[in-house]
């Protein structure tokens, strides 16, 4: 293989993996605060469609990303109100968010399927994805706020007893996760594709959720996991392009099967999962009266 080919593949891997990093790191922050949001796929889709439609209407990339992030804040805000104030089941609420997002994005984007746009260069976002992982890692392990957030995720009762506002911290963590998912979606519809198609995130939101488990809730490992997944996906496409005599569907399955295999390898060590997962994950917080 020539150097050019390797560099070419490396470029494609970087561009394809970036949305997984955004969604993964967003969900990681949400989960660190003790909340599991299964609405990643729905928030990514709504983020993707709002960015795309805004870009077509206004022609401004800035507005496109701004409105998209706002959509992520609103969608995750809805989730936050339900799980934090109404103490609803986090798993069911997250699923509802995804179903709602699938419907909403299809409806908003109906008129815009196939509309051509000028895609934006992805490189700023590729670099930004590394920066944000570094920042999150710094926030968690070098700042007091990060320590408080982790404490809320480990034991909300202790954090509450120490005088920290569990609800406020979880609310902000959920909003951060939502805006990162929207960013991942808008990156897909404006930089990566660039186009709008129903269900275009193609399960990346769910892979992002798996990434958090893979990373055992450590920010920098999200990066490693995302690049393994991204690499497998691109490798599969390249092997297919080389014309291997093997049905394409089996290659298309590869990322999903790889996710299962990786989850099995990571989770089989019960102690490690128990020590790494935020202890209050999915538990509702009720402060009594």
């Amino acid at each position: 293989m020539s150097v050019d080919l390797i560099l070419g593949i490396l470029q494609i891997v970087l561009i394809a993996t970036t949305p997984l990093v955004f969604a993964g790191i967003g969900e990681l922050v949400t989960e660190k605060s003790g909340v599991l949001n299964l609405g990643v796929e729905g928030m990514m889709l709504v983020g993707a469609v709002t960015a795309f439609v805004t870009l077509v209407i206004t022609g401004s990339y800035f507005f496109a990303f701004f409105i998209s992030l706002l959509s992520g804040v609103i969608m995750s805000g809805l989730f936050a109100v339900l799980v934090l104030f109404l103490m609803s089941n986090q798993i069911a609420t997250g699923l509802a968010l995804t179903i709602f997002g699938i419907g909403l994005s299809s409806m908003l984007g109906k008129e815009y399927i196939g509309t051509p746009i000028d895609g934006l260069s992805p490189w700023f976002f590729v670099i930004f994805s590394f920066v944000i992982v570094f920042l999150v890692s710094y926030f968690f392990y070098k700042t007091k706020m990060g320590l408080i957030l982790r404490a809320v995720g480990e034991s909300h009762n202790s954090a509450h007893a120490l005088g920290y506002s569990v609800i406020k911290i979880r609310f902000l963590s959920i909003l951060f996760g939502g805006s990162m998912c929207a960013l991942a979606g808008s990156y897909i519809s404006i930089c990566y594709a660039p186009m709008w198609q129903e269900g275009m995130t193609a399960g990346r939101g769910w892979i992002a959720l798996a990434l958090v488990v893979f990373a055992t809730w450590k920010p920098e490992r999200v990066l490693i996991g995302a690049y393994i997944f991204g690499g497998v996906t691109i490798l599969q496409m390249n092997l297919q392009a080389l014309g291997l005599r093997f049905p394409g569907q089996f290659f298309s399955m590869a990322p999903y099967l790889a996710t299962i295999v990786v989850l099995v390898l990571i989770s089989s060590n019960k102690l490690r999962i128990k020590l790494s997962a935020p202890a209050s994950l999915t538990l509702p917080f009720y402060k009594g009266r």
Binding site: L82, I102, Y256, T259, R289
Partner: protein, 356 residues
């Protein structure tokens, strides 16, 4: 703190009245939200809601279509109740449905020129086996490797869909099908008998009702049903009582998978009659909403399946008459679940204006 907002007070006992009213509150709020959405979109909201929720079922054909859609939804949802009651989050019913369709449909394709009485029962059995196998994989991974069943069951949905896609464009493609990605049609004896002439409602409905009845019996009259309930309420109490959680996980996943598999088979051998790519409009995912809306209770699930089936029909009509994309059906489904989950607060807590 202000004194106008009510505060939330924990109930000493869950409220049975609220358990009954919460789904009704959720549906009512969804209708109000739908009214506002249609108003904002510039439609006459009364006409839009009529088109969405009334006109689809104002004929015998409409009622039959409602039952056709409710049949798989109710069957999958009652299967999911076995899992959800025990806090096992199987969200891969869509994959189990697909596998059931592949296994049962495979038998149908193999015997496409055979007309005999035993063909349909064998197909149904194969469908149940296919779905159960697909459901037991996450159960095995969960019990043996401690793997999160939410993610594995979901990943297997994509795998099952690709297997179906491979089969209908590859080895199982209809040789006379002008290269369309579909299989041969099943023989007449491989099809679900129709219940009424000229209507599409089929024998799958009878199977669903029968299995819902069996499930009701299991939930309320057997030791297994009791164990599921106890493990769901308090895993510690269940362990103390010596219930085997591993067995419960396998049974719940196996039953749920088998039910979803039968639902998939009854779709392909009912209204469809062959295998192709899009056998299910997300029934496996939507059934999750049905299960919650029906509060995991057999009777509740029957009503919930009819209501959610109506959102499918309403969405089709809305697309036809109002030029609204049919995806609006998913919006209603998402909304009803949001409201339901929010209103569930009233079961375990009460609102109080009194200050202490």
């Amino acid at each position: 703190m202000n004194n106008f907002l009510p505060i939330i007070v924990s109930r000493s006992q869950t409220s049975n009245i609220m358990n009954f009213f919460v789904p009704i509150i959720a549906i009512f709020l969804t209708l109000i939200t739908g009214f506002i959405i249609f108003l904002l979109l510039g439609f006459d909201p009364f006409y839009a809601l009529y088109t969405f929720f009334i006109s689809p079922i104002s004929s015998s054909y409409g009622i039959s279509e409602l039952l056709v859609k409710a049949t798989p939804l109710a069957l999958i949802a009652i299967g999911l109740a076995f899992c959800f009651k025990n806090n096992i989050y199987n969200i891969g019913a869509e994959g189990q449905l697909t596998m059931g369709a592949i296994f049962g449909g495979g038998i149908g394709i193999l015997f496409h020129d055979t007309n005999t009485f035993w063909l349909l029962p064998v197909m149904i059995f194969a469908g149940a086996i296919g779905g159960a196998i697909w459901g037991l994989i996450p159960a095995l991974l969960k019990t043996k490797f401690n793997t999160n069943e939410i993610l594995t069951s979901l990943m297997l949905v994509y795998v099952a869909l690709f297997i179906l896609d491979f089969l209908v464009v590859g080895p199982w493609k209809d040789p006379n099908g002008f290269s369309f990605p579909k299989s041969r049609a099943f023989s007449d004896s491989g099809r679900m008998p129709l219940l009424f002439d000229g209507l599409r409602v089929h024998f799958g409905l009878i199977i669903t009702i029968f299995l819902i009845f069996v499930s009701w019996f299991v939930f309320s009259k057997t030791m297994f049903g009791f164990q599921l309930k106890v493990s769901g309420f308090s895993p510690k109490a269940a362990r103390y009582a010596g219930f085997n959680q591993t067995t419960l996980i396998f049974l719940a996943f196996g039953i749920c998978g088998a039910f979803a598999g039968i639902a998939g088979l009854s779709e392909v051998s009912g209204p469809i009659g062959l295998l192709y790519r899009d056998i299910s409009p997300n029934y496996g995912f939507t059934a999750i909403i049905v299960a919650f809306l029906g509060r995991l209770h057999p009777v509740g699930i029957i009503f919930a399946s009819l209501i959610i089936a109506l959102t499918y029909l309403g969405a089709e009509d809305a697309q036809l008459f109002l030029q609204i994309p049919s995806a609006v059906g998913f919006i209603f489904q998402g909304l009803v679940l949001f409201y339901l989950l929010g209103a569930e607060l009233l079961i375990n807590y009460k609102l109080s204006f009194k200050r202490t």
